[in-house]
Amino acid sequence: MSRKIVIDPITRLEGHGKIDIFLNDAGNVERAYFQVPELRGFEKFAEGRPAEDMPQITSRICGVCPTAHHMAATKAVDDLYQVAPPPAAKKIRELVYSTFYVEDHALHFFFLGGPDFVVGPTAPKAERNILGVLGKVGLEIGKEVIGLRKELRDLISLAGGKVIHPVFGLPGGVSRALTEEDRQQFVAGAAHAVRFARFSLGIFNDVVLKNPKYVEWILSDTYTHKTYYMGLVDRNNRVNFYDGDLRVVGPDGREFVKFPARDYLQHVAEHVEPWSYIKFCYLKDVGWNGFNEGADSGVYGVAPLARLNAADGMATPEAQAAYEQFYQTLGGRPVHHTLANHWARLIELLHAAERMQELANDPEVASPEVRTIPRETPREGIGVVEAPRGTLFHHYQTDERGVITKANLIVATQNNAARIAMSVDKAARGLIHNGQVDDGILNLIEMAFRAYDPCHGCATHALPGQMPLLVSIYDPEHRLLRTVRRD
């Protein structure tokens, strides 16, 4: 005899996670399943399209992080044509990408993940939102967040054509050069971004780190998994969002493998379950050994915490200082506490802002040389970036005209899918006892996956409000016993 609890966001069916929790007779959790109920099939309908259109077509996977898909696709078509963009084009791409990172990470902290910490994980639900955050930090800050977002998104439009679905990436460069005047706008935006990032880390210090109860949450076993971690690193093993090699560290924090993006198929594999549309990535060298942690399980994590764990440091000075404080406070590298993602995200916010500033201040970004015309016959191309939510792979094969014959896409959240499923299961087991389910417990379970900033249908994370949930509790004959609503 078992009971089943379904946590299903009733209002955002497409692109949402769904959680089914099975209880045993004693009312304790047998197992919680985390499902993704969506599939659009971009891999299939990419076939037949011109490769140079992939940056624009694949950006439609996600209107929240279109810049990440646009950039991964653009790098894949560089590789496809074996063409290197001129230095200015590469810098413009990374400048736009850094701008996008600041805007995206800032939004997550203030609007979605932040409320759990800034307001408090078990605070009344009516306060656990952006308004609650503003209540804590002041309304002026809200205006600042909206203002910064607008300024940065306008900069992305300036360079990329449109912020929602940019158009500027081409094999061998970017479609439009920046003028000196454009560059000055980026300089101003970057200065603003750096100030904002410092300020955001300050809030985290004051509100979260100075509250022992919150630190206890971060460190609690309920939110901990000892797994592998993956992230892009530069030549010095520092975090990089746009380029570099992929580095994987083991649960002990030591380098497990480091490989160029081209070799991803040797190291990354996908497992299929019949009960979810999402595929579960694992390390091929370790193998799929179920939803388990430890060195014998190929499950790995991506996104902010994983990127910090997989690197030896940050590539910019202030972010590096924040990185050192992070590991000092949390007991050294690697950190396995999922909720530490929120802090790691703010360190990355600072890194992105500093990188944006470095690039904006480089006069070369205003160079008119932004295109290299491809000469090679296309065949196969692989592009990887770190999307805000984790490593993003685009892989295309084409005919000799550059028309896609096969496409393979591994999106950020897929890399994290197994770890997210484990986090939800563990949180449910740790928090539901004797059939007791209330709103606070549901939020604590939800926090387990919100920390990843999951991107199912790629819209879940970014907008004001919380993920709405409906919990239905069924008896063994599937008769509805009661419902708990979490609006």
Binding site: I10, T11, R12, L13, E14, Y33, Q35, L39, R40, G41, F42, E43, K44, F45, G48, E52, D53, I57, R60, G63, V64, P66, V77, I146, K162, V163, I164, H165, P166, V167, L170, G172, S175, R176, V268, E270, H271, V272, E273, P274, W275, S276, Y277, K279, I373, P374, H395, G402, V403, K406, N408, I410, G457, C458, A459, A462, L463, P464, G465, P468
Partner: protein
């Protein structure tokens, strides 16, 4: 007097339309003062049950984005239709099917095979594919059933107006909301954007030759594009002549051709057919073989001409929907 009630909803979409609404930033505050937003799942706590409890017609207007692929999306569209005086299809997917509508070139089984069995990173010796119902040791798990084809909103419910674009430009969104508030809407069925081709508001229109003739079609990565001259005159497949204006040509501003996301003007029933006729008329040749060779340079006619409008086109759906052969 109570304020008019407004709903926003999304179906099969990427979230970009929701972001576009958020991008209204301060502009939306003016609108918010004048209306009562009572249903917007992404931002507000009102739920389906709240909508179900409303009187029919209680909502002055609902903006619905995304295409229709699942039965759940159909149900929500029908519910909002019943409760709303006006339905506005918001964005390319809702208006014409959008880029995900290109999936109509394939059968669902083919999509599943590629994604779950053939993809080079997949290790799946038992050839597992996701199931609508799965028995696990603890009980039964279910997934939503996906239809074989992607539909536009008006292939599902009656639609009053359309806001075009991927995503709709901010200016058009504000214009539409103001038109509704001030009760100066055009005739039912109208697309709420200027009914004139994009070329007319293109920043490069003065460089478009009086009689445009081109020798060959080029692809944007193959050439260094002049940043002032008409893109079509340079041989790029710019869909401006077959696309509605209202976006102020940001893609052309970034030195890239229009890909047609606002759809055609009201004088055109099928955007792809219009593109084809526009291109045929500017091709500088009377030699049939030469014309054919030039058209062969267009490597993906269906995906280029119908980038956003395949489900709404005369080509419409997958052949199996009409009893035709399977791929």
């Amino acid at each position: 007097m109570s304020k008019p009630k407004v709903g926003f909803y999304w179906c099969a979409s990427c979230g970009g339309c929701e972001e576009a609404v958020v991008d209204l930033a301060e502009t939306i505050l003016k609108v918010v003062d004048a209306v009562d937003i009572v249903f917007w799942p992404v931002a507000l706590d009102f739920k389906r049950a709240d909508v179900e409890a409303m009187e029919n017609g209680a909502l002055a207007v609902s903006f619905v984005n995304g295409a229709i692929r699942t039965s759940e999306q159909e149900e929500m569209a029908e519910l909002l239709r019943a409760k709303s005086q006006l339905i506005v299809a918001f964005g390319s997917c809702s208006h014409l099917g959008g880029i995900p509508g290109l999936a109509n070139l394939h059968h669902q089984a083919g999509i599943f095979r590629r994604v779950y069995q053939e993809a080079p990173s997949v290790v799946n010796p038992e050839n597992t594919v996701p199931q609508w119902r799965t028995e696990v040791p603890e009980g039964t798990l279910t997934l939503p059933v996906f239809h074989d084809t992607v539909k536009s909103l008006d292939q599902t419910i009656d639609v009053d107006y359309y806001l075009p674009g991927c995503p709709p430009p901010v200016k058009l969104i504000v214009g539409a909301v103001m038109a509704i508030l001030e009760n100066r809407l055009p005739a039912k069925g109208a697309v709420l954007a200027p009914d004139i081709a994009l070329c007319h508001e293109c920043p490069r229109k003065d460089s478009k030759p009086e009689k445009l003739l081109i020798k060959e079609f080029k692809r944007p990565h193959e050439m260094l594009t002049d940043s002032r001259q008409c893109l079509l005159a340079q041989g790029l497949l710019c869909l401006g002549p077959a696309t509605r204006s209202g976006c102020e040509a940001p893609c052309v501003g970034a030195n890239m051709p229009c890909t047609g996301c606002l759809g055609p003007t009201s004088h055109v029933k099928d955007q792809g057919a219009k593109v084809l006729s526009a291109l045929a008329s500017i091709l500088d040749s009377n030699d049939e073989e030469q014309i054919e060779a030039r058209l062969d340079d267009i490597v993906d006619p269906v995906g280029t001409f119908y980038r956003y409008s395949l489900p709404a086109s005369f080509l419409y759906a997958h052949p199996s929907a009409n009893g035709g052969p399977q791929p």
